[in-house]
């Protein structure tokens, strides 16, 4: 208890108001395990390292720039891309005319994984979650009318970084722009792909080499270009809380620094070009503090490498509001969520920001929803007057104390990772993945119990959901268009030059040499993204993920005898008694979408509820998923879809099951599926569709009812 008489007096008064309960009863334990009190005072600031600092000066808690938004506001950088290069290009032009400042390109999953659009594995993914790019010809269309010497371009690419970055460079060359004029960022953060998003191609070793090669090439030839964007965003989206996001992201950063140093570079040649990417969720103050803590910690971590350039230990970051926090139910609420998250990013001092469109839990952004999303930032920037003061929350008892708590908690995890031998080794051990998944399962359990409120999902639900806005669909013709263009390019190029360039690239992969540099001639000769990826795959191989699933985390968040949970367990036990085995469910993810959070949470929660759950490898084709369903003899297949592939992949699965005799296996679907598509899926034979935000007990209840009816 404090010695402060005023504080004691307050505690007494407060306790009286609460009919004798102590003020401690108001404490809140955050998901990060940080105890938050009802009141903070000057006492809480005593001895904190992160206070009394200046913006633009080490340790940068208050911001990397001296004048922050008072000098120049953050960059409004909206991530976009879909369908063909031509469609995306038109979308970019509109956005730039309406006040957007930088470009940020989203690629489709086939491109991410280094497959051309004509590859049979990716039929369901072309142009869906981003733009389809097969060669430099597509790249040129993508940037048509956009002067690459002026426009800063950010590209979310990790797996196929070599062909894509080389494609961008060659597209610029052909616009007459030299390498040193290029500015922007490539995500190029492969470690987090193994951790959460799974859009890698090669194993970790060669992937780390690719990153070092890119850093080396760019530090020499593209001094204005950010060679990596170390991303926590996807960890947050996968369920990581803010401490985990901070710790794992910074630990990734340290690993890249080590890799670059090991390849012989001097820390000051590349460290100033490292940038970060954080995800901002609905815990308003927490994520403000998170950005401040991350800057403080990065400075601390980088000091170990003794940089001479202060910029080497200065954390600059892009932020994005959480896609996961958006709901399919009552979707206009998402505008408000995004606004709050954007405020949090701004008060935390981000350098650039993407605000999500309110319809992202339903479909791809439309011109309308993209405008609202963009205007969310413009209004904060130009109407709310928040930009005048640097780090306006600096010195706030609560914010500073919270900043310190995040620093302390994250440092513990970073130390733990160091003990495992660094982040690459830690990822190999599975530790970070397990932590993220555990955090995700616990969160889901809190939501399913209504402890974490989500308006329109577990509270204040609408009786009647209806969609009164346009939903964007990617036409099925995109794939055909892409295939036609690939054919055209392959027919018109000089095969001998292409072959030689690809052989040289394979050689560089085998015997050393800068891979980005080696890829440029191949791109100039019109080799495709797939061919360039294959040329390296010939040496590196393709990485296969290990899927591990935790059990117990979901149910442990529930009270010991929560009624809904107990009831479902009883029913699975009943099923076992009657059928001789537990209800057996195969959860599968078809297509190239690697977001495995939903799929993992479902697997572990359903196992906790008494199902036997088979999990399929990632990136399945419908034929492969059907074979597995038959072989494991499951009662039901749950197909998870987040990347708009559901209309082709799920009906294909049902057809395939019929073909091989599994017509009595039920198929249910879950994920980001527009309600307008439900009927289409029902007609195709899907028995139930669970949209985003469906509590697991609800989907489990429905699935069990279907099974109980079938196996009476």
């Amino acid at each position: 208890m404090s010695e402060n008489p005023k504080l004691q007096k307050w505690a007494e008064l407060a306790s009286k108001q609460m009919k004798g309960k102590s003020v401690d009863s108001l404490d809140w334990m955050t998901p990060e395990g940080i105890k938050v009190k009802a009141l903070y005072t000057a006492e809480d600031l005593e001895g904190l390292e992160n206070i009394n600092t200046m913006p633009g000066m080490a340790p940068y808690t208050r911001g990397p720039m001296t004048t922050m938004y008072a000098g120049r506001p953050w960059t409004i950088r909206q991530y976009a891309g879909f369908s063909t290069a031509k469609e995306s290009n038109a979308f970019y032009h509109k956005a730039l005319a309406a006040g957007q400042k930088g470009l940020s390109v989203a690629f489709d999953l086939a491109t991410h994984r280094g497959y051309d659009s004509d590859h049979p594995r990716v039929a369901g993914d072309i142009g869906k979650a981003g733009v389809a790019i097969d060669s430099v010809e597509d790249m040129k269309i993508l940037f048509d009318g956009i002067p690459l010497n002026e426009m800063s371009v950010s590209m979310t690419m990790n797996g196929a970084v070599i062909p894509i970055l080389a494609g961008y460079i060659v597209a610029a060359e052909e616009q007459g722009v030299s390498h040193d004029q290029l500015s922007g960022t490539i995500q190029n953060d492969i470690l987090k792909e193994y951790l959460t998003r799974n859009t890698y191609i090669y194993p970790p070793g060669p992937s780390m080499r690719i990153i070092s090669d890119i850093m080396a090439f760019c530090s020499k030839n593209m001094p204005k270009y950010n060679t990596i964007s170390i991303s926590g965003y996807h960890m947050m989206e996968a369920g990581a809380n803010s401490v985990l996001q901070t710790a794992f992201t910074l630990a990734d950063g340290v690993e890249y620094v080590r890799a670059a140093l090991k390849s012989g570079m001097d820390v000051d040649t590349f460290a100033p070009r490292l940038s970060f990417f954080f995800g901002i969720g609905m815990n308003f103050f927490m994520d403000i503090a998170m950005l401040r803590a991350a800057r403080f910690l990065w400075h601390r971590l980088m000091s170990e490498f003794k940089p001479k350039n202060p910029k080497s230990s200065m954390l600059r970051t892009h932020c994005q509001t959480s896609g996961w926090s958006l709901t399919e139910q009552d979707p206009y609420n998402n505008v408000i969520r995004t606004t709050l998250e954007a405020m949090s990013a701004v008060l935390g001092g981000t350098q650039s920001l993407h605000t999500n469109s309110f319809d992202e839990a339903i479909g791809l952004p439309t011109d309308f929803s993209a405008r609202i999303a963009r205007n969310t930032q413009i209004i904060i920037q130009e109407e709310s007057q928040v930009c005048h003061v640097i780090d306006p929350l600096g010195g706030s008892y609560y914010i500073e104390s919270l900043t310190n708590s995040i620093v302390e908690e994250a440092q513990k995890i970073i130390d733990e990772i160091a003990g495992l031998g660094g982040m690459a080794k830690a990822i190999e051990s599975g530790m970070p993945k397990m932590r993220v998944e555990e955090s995700a399962a616990r969160k889901q359990a809190r939501i399913d119990q209504g402890l974490d409120v989500i308006v329109g999902v577990n509270k204040y639900k609408l009786a009647d959901e209806k969609i009164d806005f346009e939903v964007r669909e990617v036409p099925a013709t995109v794939r055909d268009e892409q295939i036609a263009r690939i054919k055209e390019i392959k027919a018109s190029r000089d095969q001998a030059t292409v072959k030689k360039a690809l052989d040289d690239l394979t050689n560089a992969a085998k015997n050393g040499g800068n891979l980005l540099e080696a890829a440029l001639p191949a791109v100039r000769a019109r080799a495709t993204v797939g061919e360039i990826s294959d040329a390296m795959e010939a040496v590196f191989g393709r990485f296969v993920a290990t899927t591990r699933c935790i059990s117990g985390a979901y149910s442990s968040e529930f009270k010991a005898n929560d009624d809904t949970i107990t009831a479902i367990k009883e029913r699975t036990n009943k099923f076992l008694e009657k059928q001789g085995r537990r209800p057996r469910l195969l959860v599968t993810k078809m297509g190239q979408d690697g977001h495995d959070r939903g799929f993992k949470v479902i697997a572990s929660a359903y196992a906790d509820l008494g199902f036997d759950v088979d999990i399929s490898p990632m990136f399945q084709t419908p034929e492969e998923a059907a074979k597995m369903a038959i072989e494991n003899d499951v009662h039901v297949v749950g197909a998870s879809s987040l990347a708009a592939g559901h209309k082709s992949l799920i009906p294909a699965l049902i057809k395939e099951l019929k073909k091989i005799g599994g017509e009595d296996i039920l198929v249910v679907a879950g994920g980001v599926i527009p309600p307008a598509d439900y009927d289409f899926l029902f007609e195709a034979g899907v028995k139930a569709v669970f949209g985003p935000g469906t509590p697991i007990p609800v989907s489990a209840d429905k699935t069990l009812s279907l099974l109980e009816e079938k196996y009476r």
């Binding site: 194993p203 070793g205 296969v544 993920a545 290990t546 899927t547 591990r548 699933c549 059990s551 117990g552 149910s555 367990k569 699975t572 036990n573 076992l576 059928q579 001789g580 085995r581 537990r582 697997a603 572990s604 359903y606 196992a607 906790d608 509820l609 008494g610 199902f611 036997d612 759950v613 088979d614 999990i615 399929s616 490898p617 990632m618 492969e624 074979k627 597995m628 038959i630 072989e631 494991n632 003899d633 091989i660 005799g661 599994g662 009595d664």
Partner: protein, 328 residues
């Protein structure tokens, strides 16, 4: 939805994946009707079994069993074999449900037309791994899989059961963790036909080699349980596919040595006797626990023993006497 035994038998013999899978489900079922049907099917299939290779693989969680089987199995199908994999998954939460994730580490083998992989939850099954796995193995053989691989985690009793039903029992280890750390019991090493140090790649090669020598020395201290075979210690990398071919050669060599000396047929006969003993014990246990009087009295007696109202001996006597009385 049950079919006649002959439909299952024909399906299995015709190598129909669906019918094979459904037969295994019957074998694994806890319902007496299913088990009876399964027994009939297995009996009818018995003449079509016994010609292939039966390989057991054990090792602690994370030793790389599944990854090894991915590499090994794909190699075997390339050599023209048909491979069945039975993965016994011990993971189960309090509720009894399991997460069966083995195929995620056997990505290529899972889609290989000449492979059949069946992960099975081991939780809550009466008689445990023994009965079901053995019968499943036989059914797979009848379906034309000439190599059957059984993956089991080496931390329980299941691995010795598995060792007693296969021709070749392989223990997968990783370097840098002592025996205790690996949770491998001495008994497991005693039944091993080979020890393989996995993950011999990258900066681990040297450590794997050191571990190989250590295990080799340790094995020399044990009495070999066959006069014709002294278990070798090998290294491999399942990720980089090195050393995998050598292991298959070792298995072939083992088969040749044991066949030539007549030990193989002795081993199988011995296993048949073990199997009978197992079935007897299992049957007795089931018979006992399904006795209506036992069922009725058991919970009460357990409570009395717990509360120290009755002694364990007296309680057990009471229960056993039911069987004597009922069968006089």
């Amino acid at each position: 939805m049950l079919k006649s035994p002959h439909e299952y038998v024909d399906g299995v013999l015709n190598r129909d994946r669906l019918m094979l899978a459904r037969t295994i489900t019957l074998i694994e079922s806890t319902l007496p009707a299913h088990q009876e049907l399964a027994r009939t099917i297995v009996d009818l299939l018995l003449p079509h079994t016994g010609k292939g290779f039966r390989i057991g693989i054990t090792g602690v969680p994370g030793a790389g069993k599944s990854t090894y089987i991915e590499s090994f199995g794909n190699m075997l199908t390339e050599l023209g074999h048909r491979v069945a994999v039975l993965a016994i998954d011990p993971s189960s939460s309090r509720s009894g449900g399991s997460i069966l994730g083995d195929k995620t580490r056997m990505e290529r083998l899972a889609v290989n037309a000449n492979a059949f992989i069946r992960p099975s939850p081991s939780s809550g099954t009466l008689g445990g791994v023994g009965r079901k796995t053995r019968e499943t193995m036989l059914v797979c053989e009848a379906a034309g899989y000439d190599v059957v691989i059984i993956e089991t985690v080496g931390v329980g009793q299941s691995e010795t059961t598995v060792a007693s039903m296969v021709d070749f029992f392989l223990v997968l280890m990783i370097a840098g963790a002592g025996d205790e750390l690996q949770g491998i019991k001495k008994g497991v090493l005693e039944v091993a036909d080979a020890i393989v140090i996995n993950k011999a790649d990258g900066d681990n090669i040297l450590r794997a080699e050191i571990a190989r020598k250590e295990y080799q020395t340790a094995l020399h201290m044990l009495m070999p349980n066959s006069p014709n075979w002294s278990p070798p210690v090998l290294t491999c990398s399942s990720l980089e596919h090195t050393g995998i071919g050598k292991i298959w050669e070792t298995i072939l060599d083992h088969r040749k040595k044991l066949s030539d000396s007549g030990e193989m047929s002795k081993k199988r006969k011995h296993q048949a006797l073990d199997w009978m003993a197992f079935l007897l014990e299992d049957g007795l246990r089931q018979w006992f626990y399904s006795d209506p009087q036992v069922k009725a009295a058991l919970p009460g007696l357990r409570a009395e023993v717990e509360n120290e109202k009755t002694s364990p001996t007296a309680a057990a006597d009471t229960l056993l006497r039911f069987l004597q009385v009922n069968n006089r």
